[in-house]
């Protein structure tokens, strides 16, 4: 059994196809491990009985040509799943049972995957440490009382702890890449418009994008093959020619031009991160890439602009939670007080803060000063990338300005929490694809990631660069299973 949970997704798929392992064996192994890992608080909802049932059916008459034949997968609880509770980590949706399936999760089941359950996340994906969830914080397997990052913290923790062979998260400002960096896993945010947003609980619609979180780069390519598809149900889905990412993976990156942006050398960044970044540069040179110094001059304005755009869109998206048609309701003496009581009791502090920021920046008299200004800054940030891509194929940066921190360390000061996303946010504002791969460990033995940012819709290039680096880095998490009961 311990062998099963140590296999990568692509290795598992191979074993199933060769009938060396059955879906039931694999599904049971992951369920057994999850039952012993409850202290990490990764799951909000489990669907284990159904999973076993589906595995049995798959073994009897499944299609072994599928890309994910009989593979059990747990997903972030932001994806609507038909007939299975979907909470977005919020009290206000704590009793919500969707009557439809998100497009991205449907793609997983259409390729033979089996749902294990729904993973914890920051409330409405707003957070960088998985401490804003109504269902409690998630602990990271990399250390006791350490945050897994956020908002896809339950996903990152479950993946690193080997409770699921792969998972999917969503990334609005870094919510896939930052937790991947904190837990020694791979996290890919595809180009905006690649993966359908249909059926994903909306946070900031112009930034939200689903993507794979995996054990290695090959697995990320395999998952991207499954979930990146045009969808007419998402008005911003883009109908471009997608690659055959897994099959086309190549570790030959000779002659590729990689940009190193000087603005990512921020004050107070630990020396270790600087040195991992340097090592990454040296490694790319060794692999035959050409290193070019570039400038992305508006980088420091990305985070302030994000904290206008994202809350503004969130305040509009979250207006629907009023206690009328679904979700939590708190009664009131009239309709307005019912709305106000419902939202006051149903939303947590961080969500309220962001709704209030968003409402303020969109309110009469302030729109031009804040929202319009932020959209103009967004243009400048995107122009920076467009200019850089005239001379480079991809950009290498650290994924985060620090490694994982202790639970409770940053909850008193929202701005210090927001600074976690300083390297990931510019990518969302520009709609670009980016991947975080584990590069090494700091003095506390906590993982650190490197981020590779690519050109829009050129995910293959991104995957090839990280695939070639991963081979040389040969990172191992070597977790001690301290949380197992």
């Amino acid at each position: 059994m311990s062998d099963i949970i140590n296999l990568t997704l692509s290795a598992l798929v191979n074993k199933i196809k060769k009938k060396e392992l059955s879906s039931q064996e694999i599904t049971s192994a992951y369920i057994a491990r999850a039952e012993k890992s409850k202290d990490l608080n990764t799951y909000i909802t489990t669907d284990f009985d159904n999973a076993i049932e589906k595995a049995k059916k798959f073994d009897e008459k499944g299609n072994f040509d599928y890309k994910l034949p009989g593979v059990p997968i747990a997903v972030k609880d932001l994806f609507c799943t038909n007939n299975l509770k979907t909470t977005a980590g919020s009290k206000i949706l704590s009793n919500f049972i969707p009557s439809y399936e998100s497009t991205v999760t449907q793609h997983l089941w259409d390729e033979g995957a089996i749902l294990l359950g729904k993973l914890n996340c920051d409330e409405f994906a707003m957070g960088s440490s998985n401490e804003t969830s109504f269902f409690g914080n998630v602990e990271s397997p990399v250390g006791k009382k350490v945050v897994p990052g956020g908002s896809s913290g339950g996903s990152a923790s479950a993946l690193a702890a080997k409770l699921t062979p792969t998972t999917i998260g969503t990334d609005t400002g870094g919510s896939i890449r930052q937790p991947a960096s904190f837990t020694g896993t791979v996290g890919l945010k595809p180009t905006y418009g690649s993966c359908s947003r249909y059926g994903i609980v909306a946070f900031a619609s112009s930034l939200d994008q689903a993507g794979p979180m995996t054990q290695d780069v090959s697995d990320a390519a395999l998952m991207l093959d499954v979930i990146s598809k045009y969808d007419s149900k998402d008005s911003t889905s883009v109908n471009f020619k997608r690659g055959d990412y897994f099959k086309s993976l190549s570790s030959n990156i000779k002659g590729k031009k990689i940009g190193i942006p000087k603005e990512y050398r921020v004050d107070g960044m630990p020396k270790e991160i600087e040195s991992f970044w340097q090592d990454g540069i040296t490694l790319l040179k060794k692999l035959g890439a050409k290193i070019i110094d570039i400038s992305l001059p508006h980088t420091k304005f990305a985070l302030p602009a994000y904290y206008i755009v994202a809350p503004a869109e969130a305040s509009s998206n979250l207006a629907r939670y009023d206690g009328v048609k679904y979700g939590y309701r708190s009664e009131g003496e009239n309709l307005i007080s019912m709305y106000e009581n419902t939202r006051s009791e149903g939303f947590g502090d961080e969500v309220k803060r962001r709704i209030m920021i968003g409402t303020y920046v969109l309110s009469s008299g302030y729109y031009d000063a804040y929202y319009l200004k932020a959209q103009k800054i967004r243009r400048l940030i995107k122009n920076d990338f467009d200019d850089a891509y005239k001379s480079v194929d991809a950009i290498l940066t650290p994924s985060t300005p620090n490694s994982a921190f202790k639970i409770g360390d940053k909850t008193d000061d929202p701005v210090s929490m927001y600074l976690n996303d300083i390297f990931t946010v510019p990518v969302n504002l520009s709609g670009l694809p980016a991947i975080s791969i584990p590069a090494g460990k700091d003095k506390n033995n906590y993982p650190l990631g490197l981020q590779i940012i690519g050109k829009a819709f050129e995910e293959q290039n991104l995957l090839d660069i990280s695939y070639s680096m991963e081979k040389e880095l040969s990172f191992k998490n070597n977790l001690q299973d301290w949380w197992i009961k």
Binding site: K325, N341, K373
Partner: protein, 95 residues
């Protein structure tokens, strides 16, 4: 600039979130520190810059106005917070 307590209560009203005085004071502190951080944007001259409204920058597609899912009334009402099978029930709005 700073956001005073009166403005906090006004934004809360607009956001349809009820807050007491203690909560309002907390939010006053938090929002002011966040806006202090956001004000950095004022240093950038954006007079000649066009706002970026959508990253896809394509026009939205038109589709036929067809019903694709039918007879899901019961399913939809199942999530309704009250137990009524036929309608969404809210407090009385007309006298």
């Amino acid at each position: 600039m700073s956001i005073d307590l009166k403005t906090i209560k006004h934004i809360a009203k607009l956001s349809r979130i009820s807050i007491d005085d203690k909560k309002a004071k907390e939010l006053e502190k938090d929002l002011n520190s966040i806006f202090e951080f956001i004000e950095a944007l004022n240093k950038v001259d954006t007079q000649k810059v066009d706002p970026l409204t959508s990253i896809a920058e394509t026009s939205l597609k038109l589709r036929g106005d067809e019903v694709k899912t039918k007879n899901i009334r019961e399913q939809i009402l199942k999530n309704s917070p009250n137990e009524n099978k036929d309608f969404f029930v809210v407090p009385k709005v007309v006298e």
